[in-house]
Symmetry: C2
Amino acid sequence: MTQKSDHIPRATIQRLAVYVQVLENLLREGTEVISSEPLAKACNVNASQIRKDLAYFGEFGVRGVGYYVKSLIDSITSALGVDREWRTVLIGVGNLGRALLNHKEFRLRGFNIVGAFDCDPFKIGEEISGLEVVCTKRLKEKIGENGAEIGIITTPPERAQRAANHLVEAGIKGILNFAPARISVPSEVNVEYVDLFHHLYALSFNITFGSSE
Amino acid sequence: MTQKSDHIPRATIQRLAVYVQVLENLLREGTEVISSEPLAKACNVNASQIRKDLAYFGEFGVRGVGYYVKSLIDSITSALGVDREWRTVLIGVGNLGRALLNHKEFRLRGFNIVGAFDCDPFKIGEEISGLEVVCTKRLKEKIGENGAEIGIITTPPERAQRAANHLVEAGIKGILNFAPARISVPSEVNVEYVDLFHHLYALSFNITFGSSE
DNA sequence: TTATAATTGGGAATGATTTCACAATCAGGA
DNA sequence: TCCTGATTGTGAAATCATTCCCAATTATAA
Ligand SMILES: NC(=O)c1ccc[n+]([C@@H]2O[C@H](COP(=O)([O-])OP(=O)(O)OC[C@H]3O[C@@H](n4cnc5c(N)ncnc54)[C@H](O)[C@@H]3O)[C@@H](O)[C@H]2O)c1
Ligand SMILES: NC(=O)c1ccc[n+]([C@@H]2O[C@H](COP(=O)([O-])OP(=O)(O)OC[C@H]3O[C@@H](n4cnc5c(N)ncnc54)[C@H](O)[C@@H]3O)[C@@H](O)[C@H]2O)c1
């Protein structure tokens, strides 16, 4: 998949992920074709927004008809580069790390966790969901073997930068950071933050000062 | 805390949460005063962006000096409405639900989980982190007692709408949804989505098509 | 007391994104 | 084959967000 346009807004990428989610549900319910209007309703966005977002990547619809759900899912996933396997490693086998390691959905969606790392000697050697926990020191060696490109950080926040350094050192290309701390990495490494409290703060603000009036 | 301006961009709210995170780290490291320039570096944004974001809420800085870290944290948390206790309930005591229930940080940050609900009879009655798992049918009754205002959904995606309906019915004001499904609720109820795969899709896109060039 | 250096707050300019509006296109039926 | 109704794709307009820039303000030191 190649893009038609050079720069694509970050917000567009986020919405494309929502579209895929909603389209997959529609497909599961048996919908074969959908037009931008009802899809927009289901995604809580404007219909032309959807059409414009898709237009960055190509012409996927049929005028007078709408979009074929199955083929649109394929087009979007291909546009996002998720029509392949992505190998990932996880650092920090604690409460959250375990939940993620046991989460089947990763593999189903092509994000395969192929390595679990921790620095706690009591955890090293333990097997979780068919994966042996390995010492963080062996990260580079292991990534050399399994070719992972994405790292998932689930250490405590004060260790997040150290974990990131290990990942960068090992040649990782992207990081998903669950620890509530900003990390700094070379500009060619992509970082995404999953921060619970950001969302809770937004809820708090919206409930208190009203977003719906 | 009252706002100076009527409409505040959503992006501003998200950044304020980042500022708090970074400021708390600075405070822990002993920084008492900081100006917008170095704070901007640490948060990966533009310095005037920070000043403008703060200006929506008031004048928190001292010209020629910068911002007093402690007092700025207080000002921002007050602006976001997080300078109080928020009671929350969680629906869906599975893998992820358990990890969240055991997560101490919620209480520390004022988001107290005061109820855990599931529909599985094998889970009802179980005690997790001092909280007894209760049948979802008793949600309204329990919320009437404990006065929770925020609901956390950690059910499978196909049950997320049902869980949301229960929460709305019980008079909840905001929902944090971890299930990968859009939910529809009345407009006065606020919803935030925490979706792993949205972030992984963004990583995939950025790694594949380059965000750093 | 006054000059200097630093830094905020906010108006104006710029830039980006969203929405509008409609010509272009397509399926289906007359 | 041609007409009708539906719906896309896309410029242009409108809205929204970010960045620039500097007067206003403060601390400090001469
Ligand atoms: N538990 C949750 O529900 C939850 C939810 C949201 C965010 N988080 C965040 O996720 C992170 C992990 O949370 P948790 O509850 O799993 O914590 P945890 O303490 O249970 O687990 C942290 C793990 O990281 C390991 N670790 C520490 N330093 C390391 C290093 N340098 N290299 C490798 N491993 C290292 C520890 O040995 C431990 O196993 C925290 O930053 C937390 O704030 C947790
Ligand atoms: N496990 C993870 O690491 C992880 C990460 C990100 C997102 N998620 C998402 O979070 C959700 C939960 O994941 P999980 O791994 O904990 O799943 P899980 O199957 O372990 O837990 C789901 C729980 O919800 C309960 N439940 C089902 N329907 C219910 C209803 N109507 N009312 C109340 N409770 C109900 C089930 O009894 C079960 O206890 C899923 O939507 C998943 O996609 C999970």
